[in-house]
Symmetry: C2
């Protein structure tokens, strides 16, 4: 309490806190007519369709404050929402942020979370237009709702894949999960010996994938540039196995995925082996990749095959064939979505 | 655990729970193109402006499960959001609902919360179009974001009142706060003697105001019907004193309010006296009334004076006169916004 950098939120009061957190906002998008400061924000989206998605991050479930920098936490809380809008082939434009915080957190801590949120907004050209702030009896909760826009006819849904469509994925998978494993391991090491320095050499990439992920705002533009419109799309938040299942079930189809085609970073493989986990389990079920998973017609194969950073990992089949993973040695394994553990973790209904 | 009516949420899994909670949704508004089930909801609001507001209800801060029926809690969580849209002279059309729940809550408990939310949606013609569900390590958190629409030029802001405008309020004030006081008293009585029957005779109104409030969807229509457009408007969530302050500060004006003009229910007065609280303190600072507070030009006085359920409680003055309350005996008291206690309670930035 005597730390000069610790200010109590209660000293500012409710409206003082909001003023302080929002005083530097400059609305950037022309559709953001009125932001924070009235009963509701006012948005002009009269030329395009409006997209809305929401994600909730809960302390102890989605993040562990002991190894999560608060600035990164704020950044990630915004990114996971932007990702949902890109997955519809839309553009995120506004967010509202609701925070519940226990009195364990100082004003400076809250400001760090907001700095991360603002950095994400700046990077992705999104306006913070409203929110709510409350105390909680214990724990930190961040609920963000994103409003995006899309041109009618350009929105891409989950349930519109066709049989024989090729399945594509951006970037690589499984790194965020291995980042989490490493952070959890270092936490245990630290518990036993607080003087031990964490051994994180060469792990920048996987740690960044876990702690400060990015959303794929580029993929929509790349695909538009080469004249490819995906037939279905979703972002990979729960893990490839779980998310391809959404496309299959929504489209009433099956799929065939080839393990050797799955994009995976070398450090992810090395660490999976070190942790004695099958790397393909990590790739299929790790989650929190925020890559885009999409299907295209076979006719678009030539357009996409040379694009760096997009992998063709399989194709859609008829529903009765089920969802299958074909391993290098020719074995076909029914695809199970282990994903995140039911309500031990997050479930996003949109 | 052996209670046949208690189902564990973990048995259903993440997507099973979402399916169960959302399976009966039928989208009603023509703007709600796609609801739950994809990365984002799709809304067509191309003829009107879009309004967005969000409110967070936190267990132990905003509600006490020991005397709050979960169905009412869900209803109220939706209503407080709708109220923000009516306060802009808009129409609420869609909501997203994010819930964090500890494993103390069964599936049936969650379904009760949703039943309340759906009842509110039905009553106010709003579509539930998305959300997120997570566990929490402790406590229940309900974060709702509402999307509304309004005709350009009809939106009413807080900061556009003019000097000499009349200050009006719908309904009566302070009842929700007295409802809370009574519920808290009964809780203490019950703690001492669990066999004691609660003494709630004649208190239906104040209890309903606290536990199952309504939003004033009628006021906008009434005012339009008599040709009155308020010059500024806000809903009373934090208490009249706090909310008139928003209008004053936003409009750079002062105000003069007359205590004898304040609308207050007889039971509210009787109970305030029983609790030895000044009834006007309750009316000015109780909060959670969800009535509309608005200003009109003096020229509209004749149109509004006979409208039942709307009270003219004072007028706007110049800024240097400050915010004042004139008591029956002619005393002028500077108006203090005690309102809800800083971050002990909620602060809504829009």
């Amino acid at each position: 309490m005597n730390d000069p950098k610790r200010s109590e939120i209660s000293e500012l009061g409710e409206f003082g806190l909001i003023d302080r957190l929002t005083k530097n906002i400059k609305l950037k998008n022309k559709g953001s007519l009125v932001g924070v400061g009235d009963d509701a924000a006012v948005i002009d989206n009269r030329e395009r369709l409006t997209l809305v998605s929401t994600d909730l991050l809960v302390e102890g479930i989605h993040f562990d404050i002991s190894y999560t920098p608060l600035r990164h936490l704020g950044y990630k809380a915004a990114i996971v929402n932007f990702s949902d809008i890109y997955a519809m082939n839309g553009i995120p434009e506004q967010i509202t942020v609701s925070l519940a915080i226990s009195n364990r957190f100082s004003l400076e801590a809250i400001e760090e979370i907001y700095e991360g949120i603002y950095l994400a907004c700046e990077t992705y050209h999104v306006d913070l237009v409203g929110g709510d702030t409350s105390s909680s009896l214990s724990g930190l909760f961040i609920s963000i709702t994103v409003i995006g826009s899309a041109v009618e006819g350009e929105i891409i849904y989950r349930n519109t894949a066709k049989e024989n469509d090729l399945i594509c994925v951006s970037g690589d998978l499984g790194a965020a999960y291995m980042g989490l494993m490493v952070l959890e391991r270092e936490k245990q090491v630290f518990k036993v010996n607080p003087d031990m320095q964490p051994d994180l050499e060469g792990m920048d990439y996987i740690l960044e994938r876990q702690l400060k992920p990015e959303a794929r705002q580029d993929i929509g533009k790349i695909l538009k540039g080469i004249g490819v419109k995906p037939t279905a799309m979703i972002d990979i938040s729960d893990g490839l196995a779980s998310d391809i299942r959404h496309i299959c079930q929504g489209s009433k189809l099956g799929c065939q995925i080839f393990t050797e085609k799955l994009p995976v970073d070398a450090v992810t493989i090395r660490l999976a082996e070190e942790f004695q986990i099958d790397p393909y389990t990590v790739v299929m079920n790790g989650g929190e990749d925020y890559e885009l998973l999409f299907t295209i017609t076979q006719g678009d194969y030539d357009k996409i095959k040379e694009i760096i950073g997009i992998s063709i990992i399989g194709h859609m089949t008829d529903e009765s064939s089920g969802m299958n993973l074909l391993t290098k040695d020719g074995m076909s394994v029914a695809l199970k979505a282990q994903g995140w553990d039911s309500l031990k973790n997050s479930g996003n209904s949109n």
